[in-house]
Subunit: 343 residues, 4 copies
């Protein structure tokens, strides 16, 4: 059994990690920390876990965490980078669900996250945890940078096009919509039910922190810098991301449906829908899967890709478990067989 | 492996049954019928099942169904009673998720359901599938009447009080609220998003079909007829029932918390919350569990019980699987270990 | 024109007051204060007011407020009681939308609100602003205690029964459900979209601050103390309160429909629905009206009353404007003719 | 007073028209028809109208309608074109909220709407009712084709760019999201609460009926055919459309903020937000206004326009009243001063 610890388990990615790990056949939950809620039973805060998780939150303590085989960080940005070096030194595998190890360039990191990076020497070692691109590297990784939710959906949608150089990649558009749980479990007016229920808006159009991450990874796939307009929106619902992606094809004759089906044929967690389909976010609610459809409307040279994930699962906790499975040489699907809840 | 069939799988209880049975370790899904959608792949209608269920809907056919070990009816009222006799004769166990076998009195059935009963001779044999009351009978049942969603929540909330004669049971109040999925997957104006989103109302106050079922079963527990005012309400959400139950205590000194904890100590799917708690429906979303809390506000002699279930799980498909487990002598919990999805 | 000021205009009752007063034919908005947001244009915070309200928030300042004819307090509890004496002394009419002047007994106030009352000498003068009961007093009031949202719905539902002594009023039940805007515009985890969307629960069953207010006012109507079990619930929506009220009739033969229709025949803002109807909260969304239906299910002696209001309108800002109209001798309906938004 | 009739008043645009016309100072509602619900009081079906509208639905009857000054069609596509000629002949002004008169080309109309046009001779006379473009024509129109909801938002967003030839208009992108009320009040599984609540999806990506309408009108503004990829999405809420529009600028140095502010400076119902703002749909809920913001993220040459309307108001009934005001020479704002409901 893999002994797992979670740092910062009081947010939505934390409770989702707990839900998945509690049911994972190869994992025993050893410790979960929360500075503010130490002493409280996890299942008191998250009653869905009653009968499944008996742990209490404890103060974060490197000693205890160092006894784990793997430690997940479900913390705000800037926490994992402070604790990771000691844990790695103690032989613990580290999977960070925040942004600390996603960008390769510490200068860029500081620009977007407003603080200097605490361990820039680890940035090159950290493996960006998108298994559909970096599976081989993940098998031997010590430190995994779990991708952001928006970046997961956008990359899985664009990958087949960029890998094959099929579109004008200096002018990509990603119009992406997220449920409110992506904003986390923080006391803020902006994400109150009364603020975002029954309403819809774009936000952060001038620049969102997930933009440099997407640009970095798409460039790696394309082999050169790409141009992207990324517009995130906030949906009046809890779980789910829907990316609507636009690009101009160099050649209209490519069989896009076949391209996507072949690219993802062996991927356990990417599902290419039949031609003409429109995935809805509920079809992935609670499940570690990205469903994708590809369209070329009106016989034009504009390709439209629709990609949906559950931001807390394939966009966060589920992908982290998938990465853990890879790091420890388990079946990549272990503990991730849950079927989406519909309706 | 138990060979299972489903009649009428295009509704919400149908897709939920499929979700649960597809993951059940002792069940193989053999057939699922739909008169209107024969030939269509189940996963085309319900894309959450893609990769998990490969069946296609077929025309209902008694011959094929007779090859199953168990047949679930997820049909409108009035269908199971027509097909059950032949299946029972063929040695198939029958679990009806509709109302056909819930009432013992065929005259009353006709009054509330507007048609004569097709096989009144089976009504006395049918076991009312509330395992917390009828577990022993269910172990040897051929024909199970799976309880309604409202009745499940109301009964589990009232049971400890009525079994022990602790309240004035001629004047019970059940103020119950249900998500929209309880109304089924039917094309109706009344359950459109635009009709019931962002709104709330009571309905069927003069009389709801679940009332006689509740009265029959509570009387069986109390040992005499009871009086109940039952007011159902429609919530602007999809899954979940919340029953708020009121009764007058004969004796204020009873330790209600202890009473509930003891009554349900050995029940795998009833969870009594700590004193002072308020269960929310999301804590049971997707899970086969009823969470209950008991209050006596202001030191009065009025007891207030709060009980929540997922109407599609403990209120329908999950309870049906629990009943199947009992009928076939499996671990009652088999296939029902899923943790509720929160948030 | 009546010169109106608002203290504390950054919450939901504040913006709703602004919406109503901006369209009121006899009112000019003179000042709106907010300690935290002074200098900001009101319409920047609440863009629905763009083109309708050009004021900026200012620091609360008694001098400026004293130039108004009426000052509304849309503040947290405990603010109005500190500023009201000076304003009253300056001849300003005061309408408090918080709880400061709702309870007659300062000891009880301190028990429920956790602080000593700052001007107990005003409690007896303050008029409880439920026009359907206190219209005559409101015509000459200087200081109005605007009722709470739950108390408005509960009282309007019970009034005809209690005024006429028709029910056993030692054992009333009020099962009441509120939209999230009733919790205000405060940064709190508990009212995040991700916490209360797609879920439902009771809260504060052991005791809610609106309970003593309801008990006080119902007792005034009944002529003696009443017994009430009051259970509030939180709905996954923004606006609307639905009260489901239960009482035992002394005499089943009373024509309840006629009773309610006659009681409210001359009330401009209480609408008794036809027999058998079920009001939905959307039918009053944005409108200053309470719609009521009365049922006696199953020919029992239990009466069930259904009453709906928009908690921000008839439950707060609309009722405050109605009270202002009465205080200043205007047409009670002035500025309150808006039709509810459906769907 | 203008005597107004409504044909087909049982849908959402119908009830919204009634809400607006009932409060219009210059209109008297004379007749409202519904083939299926003749005899029923309008306020029985739509209880928000109780106390405001006393009409009953009647059978559609050309004679009665011919006595009106104006007749609104809030009918399914294909109805207005059958009745309009007789009404026009009788001197009645006709405003069609459906699609019958929106396309100039009857062949194209038949392609998209699946039936031959009944009065193609009227297509050239019909004025497309977007006042921000066609105000002068509307002043003297007999027959108004009220724009679709999507087309209204998309056009108002693109207009300043296309009128001035500032973008590459062969490759426009309109990613548009609509609340469920846009799908109408029809009994359909696809728009049930349980189908679209807590979920999000694109639909009709291969081709939506509003596409030819948008292309026709944008071409008229641009002076030549334009290329547009139009992707509609369905939001889990009731009212509101949010258009996110993308285009490539020919020249990055244009002051887009000034352009938009000047273009709409005199428009009573288009509100250009300050630079950097993100409109939310709730800021226009119930109000006849389009709020627009314009961005050029990352200093790129891609312009992003955000435009929101209430699909039932500026996207349907409100715009119809605005058009009526123009046709009859009233103040364009008459009856349309309502402030949006927020929260």
């Amino acid at each position: 059994m893999i002994k797992a610890g979670i740092v910062g388990g009081t947010g939505y990615t934390g409770v989702e990690l707990l839900r998945l790990l509690a049911a994972h056949p190869d994992v025993s939950l050893a410790v979960i920390t929360s500075r503010g809620d130490a002493g409280i039973a996890v299942a008191t805060m998250f009653p869905n876990l009653r009968g499944h998780v008996s742990l209490r939150f404890t103060e974060p303590d490197t000693q205890t965490l160092a006894d784990c085989d793997v430690v997940f960080f479900a913390t705000p940005n800037g926490t994992a980078m402070k604790m990771a070096p000691a844990l790695l030194a103690a032989g613990v595998k580290v999977i960070d669900l925040a942004a600390d190890f996603r960008l390769k360039d510490p200068v860029q990191w500081q620009q977007w996250y407003g603080m200097p990076h605490a361990c820039p020497e680890l940035l090159s070692e950290a493996v960006y945890g998108l298994p559909e691109v970096n599976r081989a590297l993940l098998h031997k990784a010590r430190l995994v940078a779990n991708p952001g939710c928006y970046p997961t959906a956008v990359q899985l949608g664009f990958l087949p096009l960029l890998e094959n150089g099929l579109v004008a990649d200096d002018r990509l558009v990603a119009d992406v919509k997220s449920g409110a749980s992506g904003a986390g479990r923080k006391a803020e007016v902006a994400t109150l039910m009364s603020e975002i229920g029954e309403s819809f808006k774009a936000y952060a159009v001038p620049g969102h922190r997930h933009l440099p991450e997407i640009l970095q990874e798409l460039a790696a796939v394309a082999g050169h810098a790409v141009g992207l307009t990324f517009v995130p929106h906030l949906l009046p619902m809890i779980r789910g991301i829907h990316a609507t992606l636009y690009a101009t094809l160099k050649d209209k004759s490519t069989d896009l449906q076949a391209l996507y089906e072949q690219r993802y044929a062996d991927e356990p967690f990417v599902d290419v829908l039949p031609a003409g389909a429109h995935p809805d976010t509920r079809s992935v609610r609670g499940a570690n899967v990205c469903r994708v459809a590809v369209h070329r409307p009106q016989d034009s040279d504009t390709v439209v890709v629709l990609a949906v994930i559950d931001n807390l699962v394939k966009g966060a906790a589920g992908q982290a478990v998938q990465n853990m499975n890879l790091v420890f040489g388990l079946d990549e699907r272990a503990g991730l067989g849950g079927i989406a809840l519909l309706p």
